[in-house]
Symmetry: C2
Subunit: 230 residues, 2 copies
């Protein structure tokens, strides 16, 4: 039990797999996803084409590895920024700005994220086991943004907000994909303004007058959150 935490030395297969991922990520960065062929990945990793497919059933799974890396970078960029903010709008803005900065280098091929996210068969969609971790961790980040803030959130709403905010962030990314303005000015403007609106809406939601409406929304979100369940 005491030494269970010591990771075993990587087997040969694990090292090969690692080489393939590393080669793929670099090629994706340099040339984009479509322009990177499995043959290029295999060659850069020093393995045969068939061998690359032995480790990654298809090209999308390599893309999934790429997203995981981007996601880790987002978490790493967002958390220190959160430490310096208290107001909810500022905290949401910190999370979203970190996201936009991390993904900026990949703008030219980020449409793929959506192609895959929308496809129920794809390992990248948030309801697919392979993509579920990233979605959960993304929600967790928003949960942290909420709990650390000075704004009081009605508890029924608090339970659903991380999921809603994560969905919101996906919407922002979708906008960003189409944003051709210099420096993604428009997306940044959208974030600045929507985080204010969200913060306002959350404050409004505590207003007793709006309680029935809030209850309805919360109930709706709770009931219908998982379309893939029967």
């Amino acid at each position: 039990m005491t030494d269970a935490a010591v990771p075993p030395p990587p087997s040969k297969g694990e090292r090969t797999k690692e080489r393939i991922v590393a080669a793929a990520l670099e090629l994706f960065r340099a040339h984009g996803y479509e322009a990177t062929t499995m043959r290029m990945v295999a060659e850069a990793a020093g393995v045969s084409l068939g061998n690359a497919y032995y480790y990654f059933e298809n090209k999308d799974l390599l893309l999934a590895a790429f997203y995981r890396e981007v996601h880790e970078a987002h978490l790493a960029a967002a958390r220190p920024r959160l430490a310096r903010k208290r107001a909810l709008a500022d905290r949401l803005s910190a999370v979203m700005t970190a996201k936009l900065e991390v993904i900026e280098p990949y703008h030219r091929f980020s449409a793929l994220m959506f192609r895959s996210a929308a496809d129920p068969e794809s390992p990248l969609n948030p309801f697919h086991p392979a993509g579920a971790d990233i979605a959960r961790e993304g929600e967790q980040l928003f949960a942290e943004a909420l709990t650390g803030s000075s704004t009081r959130v009605p508890s029924d709403l608090a339970a659903e907000l991380p999921g809603l905010l994560w969905t919101y962030s996906m919407g922002i990314v979708l906008y960003w994909i189409h944003d051709r303005s210099p420096g993604r000015r428009k997306t940044h403007a959208l974030v600045d303004r929507t985080v204010e609106m969200i913060a306002s809406a959350i404050k409004l939601a505590s207003n007793p007058l709006l309680r029935p409406f809030r209850k309805k929304v919360v109930e709706l979100v709770r009931d219908l959150r998982f379309p893939t369940e029967v």
Copy 2:
């Protein structure tokens, strides 16, 4: 001038093109998009593979023809239903229910719609010239749903609502894609409940107390509606 409206008889090329579309639509319906190969389409249309590509630069453009047909079917299904409703929630529900019924037969391959809609390069995305018509006509349908209703809408909001509702309908379709419940029960529940909420929200938006918040939202939507502009 007087005979300008008489369409010229279809040229040989036009008839060939028509045959190709018809063959493709039938094959898509029967086997789905991925499983339908360009070679199958060409053979079913009685032309060579190269000839099919002469008329349709790529497979996506055939898919675009398919979407156009689905879209026409939606318009045709929705309009008579609108004629029988007055309450806003009912009218929105009529439009959405017509949509869900029309697309139901294509559930298994509808993920493609999103793959393409999210991709800035795709002819199907609403900001791309080839896809813009469908988006505009979709908004037009929602505009009709609004103007024919008994609910009074503040005029600043009225200008933006058709676009917002069209976006909403895309969101519903995205949910529907992932919906595995029998009879798409969950999506129908989502529609029933969201149209009520939207109708309530629109009524709330007329409330003078919420005017500043409404102004903010409307202004935001107006400013940022077109991410592809610079």
